[in-house]
């Protein structure tokens, strides 16, 4: 990919500086523990704007913990101890001026199992917008259509917007959840195993959607499916036991990783 920079390598094996790509999120020295159990150790990485960055690694490596840290989902857990800094477009997300509700509007999240609310398709997408308030019926209609179109669902549901969200297939429900997140105009979309409960065709639709969304958003994807990371991401970070082992352009990480730990994981070798 000619538009991607040659990354500067840090001695630790991680890539610290993106020369030509502007960062959207900057994670610096992030350590996180659940009580006395360490989940992330000194993670430093930058997520480039308008790119798809994938976090891969074995179960328990900390990839979901890292993803959730990006919109402060750990705030709900009192046992969590955190050190280090995360900046969104230069602002510390734990800073006193950062409003959590506002942060989560700017950094939306989609989980593994589709979780539409028990209401109509329309009301699901309009939910966040209604909470924000200030929109007339016509404006709300337009915003719902726009979000459903962006989530590649509009054509499939435009004639049954008042039907329950539960009448949709799993793949459609997941795209509905993405539409609901997109409706409030996030800058970043976090996706935690968004296709692992879906069939192959629905998975491809989600992947196609991820690809299209990066024109307007920055995406961060956690996946167990390495082929999926290879297919959709521009950058891949490999985590193991809470450490960032290797981070680089997906093009080279899957053809010629620099470290034996990465090679062993992505090729299915015994460590």
């Amino acid at each position: 990919m000619s538009d991607l920079m040659p990354p500067a390598m840090a001695p630790s094996g991680t890539i610290l500086a993106f020369k030509r790509e502007a960062s959207c999120l900057e994670i610096e020295g992030l350590c996180l523990a659940y009580g006395d159990k360490t989940a992330l150790r000194d993670v430093t990485l930058r997520v480039p704007r308008h790119r798809v960055t994938a976090f891969i690694g074995p179960s328990g490596c900390g990839k979901s913990t890292l993803l959730r840290a990006l919109n402060r989902l750990h705030d709900l857990n009192e046992d969590v101890v955190r050190q280090g800094r995360i900046r969104l477009e230069g602002s510390d997300i734990h800073g006193p001026e950062m409003d959590v509700a506002q942060l989560r509007r700017r950094v939306g999240m989609v989980f593994q199992a589709p979780n539409p609310f028990p209401m109509s398709i329309y009301d699901n997408v309009a939910f966040g917008l209604r909470l924000q308030g200030g929109l007339r019926k016509r404006q709300l209609d337009d915003a719902v259509e726009e979000a459903l179109t962006a989530a590649a669902l509009w054509e499939e549901v435009k004639d049954r917007l008042r039907a329950s969200a539960w009448t949709l297939s799993g793949g459609q429900q997941q795209r509905l959840v993405i539409a609901r997140t997109l409706a409030v105009g996030p800058e970043v979309l976090l996706l935690d195993e968004p296709a692992s409960a879906l069939d192959p065709i629905s998975t491809l639709k989600i992947e196609e959607l991820i690809r299209n969304l990066k024109a307007s958003l920055t995406l961060v994807l956690v996946t167990h499916n390495m082929q999926q990371a290879a297919r959709v991401s521009d950058y891949t970070a490999f985590l193991q036991q809470g450490e960032l082992v290797e981070y680089g352009p997906t093009d080279s990480l899957f053809t010629n990783p620099r470290l034996a730990r990465t090679e062993n994981y992505i090729t299915g070798r015994m460590a």
Partner: protein, 243 residues
């Protein structure tokens, strides 16, 4: 990351280990056959053994069959395993190497066909000294290329990349002396042309051996050194082992 000869036998899936081992084994078997074809083709000429030359022409079919088999096995690994990193590079290197070996087989067959003509015309041994010399050189290159592939030896591979220039210059000087023969004796033109075709085939075999060496560097290091001037290569980084 660099790989070693054991790298492809450490997968959690033993079946995958087996499939990759089979690819390497079959490529080496094909290499062995091709090496023998070159040896026999040149031997047939130098010993005036037209039966041997005919056998080389017939055996080319076996070389082609081996390429098809290896390609099919590689296709299966790609489709079923979606290999990554050094596994992917191994499959790609094997596909490319099998293609070059098949071309070496074609060149051996060309040498044998020209040998048959020369033996039946029985017009002397002009240029045979050059054929012997260059053939020994390129046969050694093919053997070393296969050895470097089997051992994943980038140092040996790099040596070959440099050696190809020597073959090219030996070929150039042999061609010049054969041109002199043709100018001196017009009756020799037909037989000297056949010898020139043989030398040309040997020179091409050297090029294919060079390609094989380049695939070894790609396989081990992930570096694509094709179309790079050998003098511009960063040999230190190719030979030294990374983390």
């Amino acid at each position: 990351m660099d790989i070693t000869s054991e790298s492809h036998s450490q997968h959690i899936s033993r079946q995958f280990n087996h499939e990759l081992e089979e690819l390497k084994t079959h490529l080496m078997a094909m290499g062995g056959l091709v090496e023998k074809q070159v040896q026999d083709a040149v031997g047939a000429l130098l010993e005036s053994d037209s039966h041997l030359a005919e056998r080389v022409v017939e055996n080319d079919r076996a070389v082609n069959d081996m390429q098809i088999k290896i390609d099919e096995e590689c296709t299966q690994v790609l489709a079923r395993r979606q290999p990554t990193a050094s596994d992917l590079r191994l499959v790609l290197a094997v596909i490319r190497a099998a293609s070059d070996l098949e071309r070496i087989g074609d060149e051996a067959s060309k040498i044998a066909r020209n040998a048959i003509e020369l033996i039946s015309a029985d017009t002397g041994h002009r240029g045979f000294v050059e054929v012997r010399m260059i053939s020994e050189h390129v046969r050694r290159m093919v053997r070393d290329a296969l050895t470097s592939f089997a051992r994943l030896d980038t140092e040996l591979a790099l040596k070959l990349v440099h050696e190809d220039d020597e073959v090219d210059s030996e070929y150039g000087s042999a061609m010049r002396s054969l041109m002199t023969f043709m100018m001196e004796d017009a009756r020799s033109i037909s037989s000297v042309l056949s010898v020139m075709w043989i030398l040309r085939a040997l020179e091409r075999i050297g090029d294919h051996a060079n390609n094989l060496a380049e695939y070894v560097v790609y396989l081990v290091k992930g570096l694509d050194i094709r179309h790079t001037d050998p003098d511009d290569l960063d040999e230190q980084s190719i030979v030294t082992r990374k983390r």
